[in-house]
Amino acid sequence: MTHSPTAPPTSPPAAAAATAPQDGPPSPASAASQEPPRRSPWAYKAGQLRAALRTEPGRLRLIGAAIALLLLLFGGVTVWQVSDRTAAAATVIDSSQPLSTGAAEIYRALVDANTAAATGFLAGANEDPDVRQRYEDDIDNAARRLAAAAADSSGSDEAQEYITFLNQRLPVYTGLVEIARANNRQGLPLGGAYLRYANEQMQESLLRTADELYQLETRRFEQDMGEAKRWPWVATGVGLGTLLVLAWAQRRHYLRTNRVFDPGLLAATSAALVLLLWLTGAHVLARSALNDASTGAARSLSALNGAWTEALKARGDENLNLVARGASTEFEDSYTEHMNTLLGPDPEQVAGLLGEAEELADDADGLAPVRAAVAATQEWRTRHQAGREQELAGAYDEAVARAIGGPHSPGATTGQSFAQVNASLGEAVRHEQEQFTAAADRGRGRLGGLRVGAVALALLAVLGTALGVGRRLAEYR
């Protein structure tokens, strides 16, 4: 279509004649123009456009409008994509990471309660009130966290199912522990069987579900983190395109007028450039901060949480082994397994989850508690070995004393070592949690202002474009 149709009302046959001979497959345009009786508003507009393109002012207007549209698009896309990422970062900080941490804490409270139950059982009638209190606190804590998790509306249906299940099973578990305790107080071996059953319920039903809940929340957290870190390709693409169009418009302007600068368009270009640089710069910085959070602190947290759980489980098995009174080696084997996961199989080396946490710790404040936990775990392992040897030699009371203290206590119990491991890991987890929140906040903060800035800069650039193009248009009057 090299010719341009003249005044639309008189030209339908021409248009039809222009397209019909080409004899190609009917295009939408030709279909529209082959209906002579009435003309669509679109065709009318297209005609106007074609008319406008024949004159320089018309072309200028068109270029100006296109640039303005692109700038608005750039601003809008930027606002949209930055909003998405800010929202994702906010979800990470306010919802999914706390939910993941909360699930980890539910899990830990349950393991802790199970461990405290075994410790108290071992002491029997001489149960330390602190141990009893710890058990009560753990159950309270787990129940409260479950209630909080259930109330959190951001939780998915799947998460709610897990939480409901845990809420149902927790009282069953505590009931079993109380039966065990009552029988044990009367000196009946049946108490031990009940505690074993309670432990089995804890391991195979409660903890399994709590772990699934944790995995679910952690997957969601990682997903949100990925969203927050995603590069805003559309916004950067549109921004680059807008800048190219602006550059082309100014070059055309230069070629036609020999004037180097159009101040309006120059201002628009600068504003668009600033916005693009801001967009990319802010994202580079935000991603680096979020990476600190997700690959630094979050990985540390994961290793530390894992180590903490393993330590608690090893302690529970250590005590359950003594509760079992040599009925089987099941708990001793399980202790060894957890200890190996915690510290690695070689007593001379620091490996396992604690080794990993030590490697991941990236500052002195984070490293110190991990080192303390490693030292206490090594001490625990040595003491346990001594206690186990006594148990195997038939010195059961001495073995129990080595685990929980008491009249035969050598003064240095595995319980003390474990308490240190527990405290150190708690401190390390708190530290890494702070690190995580700080880094994630930093990441979110680096995107802050970008939305407002995008709107302002885009409008500024549109204004500049209007002024620049308007001044050129004025020259044609």
């Binding site: 029997g124 009638a125 029988n183 107080r185 009367q186 000196g187 009946l188 071996p189 049946l190 031990g192 069987a193 009940y194 074993r196 059953y197 079992a324 009174r325 040599g326 009925a327 089987s328 080696t329 195997l392 030699a393 038939g394 059961y396 009371d397």
Partner: protein, 370 residues
Amino acid sequence: MGSVSTVGTPGAAGAGAPGGGPGGRGGRRRVRLPRGRGLLLAAAALVLAGTTLVAALPGGGAAAGAGSAAGQAAPAGQVSSGDDLPLAGPQLCDGRPVDASLPPARDPGDAVAAIRARNQLRVGIDLNSYLWGYREPDSTRIVGFDIDLVQAIAEDLLGENPDIVYLAIPTAQRTQAIQEGTVDMVVRSMSITCDRWQDVAFSTAYFETGQQLEVPRNSSITGFDESLDGARVCSAAGSTASRLLQEQSHGAQLITQPNHLDCLVQVQLGLADALMTDTALAAGHLAQDPSMRLVGQRLTDESYGVAMNLANTDLVAWVNAVLEDYRAGGEDSQWRQSFDRWLAPYLYDGRRDPPPTPPEPEYLEGGLVD
């Protein structure tokens, strides 16, 4: 009473026999009737084997006529598998009674000398078996029917206030602990079976028991019969009870747990309707939960023995000599005193049952292994 050692010197002869050799035993082995006093014992044993093995010990108050117990407890088609299932009636391993052991003798050999040199007896026990071997409430003392016997053996070997090391041994490691010498003997309500004779030596029987059903007081289950249909019955994994139930379930749904006590937990929690274990362990259950009771007939005849290393024939003969003394004395015997203290309240009903008596010993001619 050191005068029982009348029958040869099997301790010295057996010491040379290597432990093991599972394949080649049985050919020469016969039950020889000991002379003198042994004749009386043998006569009693024959009568017992022929008629009322069960009568030696009343089964949980529910033991009706012992003869009928022996008759009913061996349903058609089950006796053939007697090598695995110690069903009612005399059980033979390669032609000899399963609970026959070396004749009693106090002739110190290497094993006894080693224990005396150490001045300490190491015994594998169970610390979770109520009435048999457990820790007394609020004390660190280990007590029970098994423990009384250990005490008697240790005093006989080492004198007054013997040094005894009690090692709690998991069920699965009993034979291993004996073979490796971790313990001198295992006294842990351990049934004498042909299979176990391959790995360890047993003393003569010190207690007779058998599998029986145990139910809550209000249960409608009446015994090992159609009343089990649809019920959930619990037994310890790998136990005789579990094999019995697998062979003939009477429509019951089987539940297996690691330990017989875990089955009591299942029943108490309503997760099982009944459990099957031997009457000796059931006594411990009844003592811990008076609302349980034994129903039906005793389904098998099993004997508990002291397990020792196959090579330690001097020790086996010595323990048998101790058991002779332990059983002797009728109502005043040490055995009876221990029974009255621990088990009578749960296994003996004076109105219905004949007075409890220890099992009659059976003795072998020659060594333990060929």
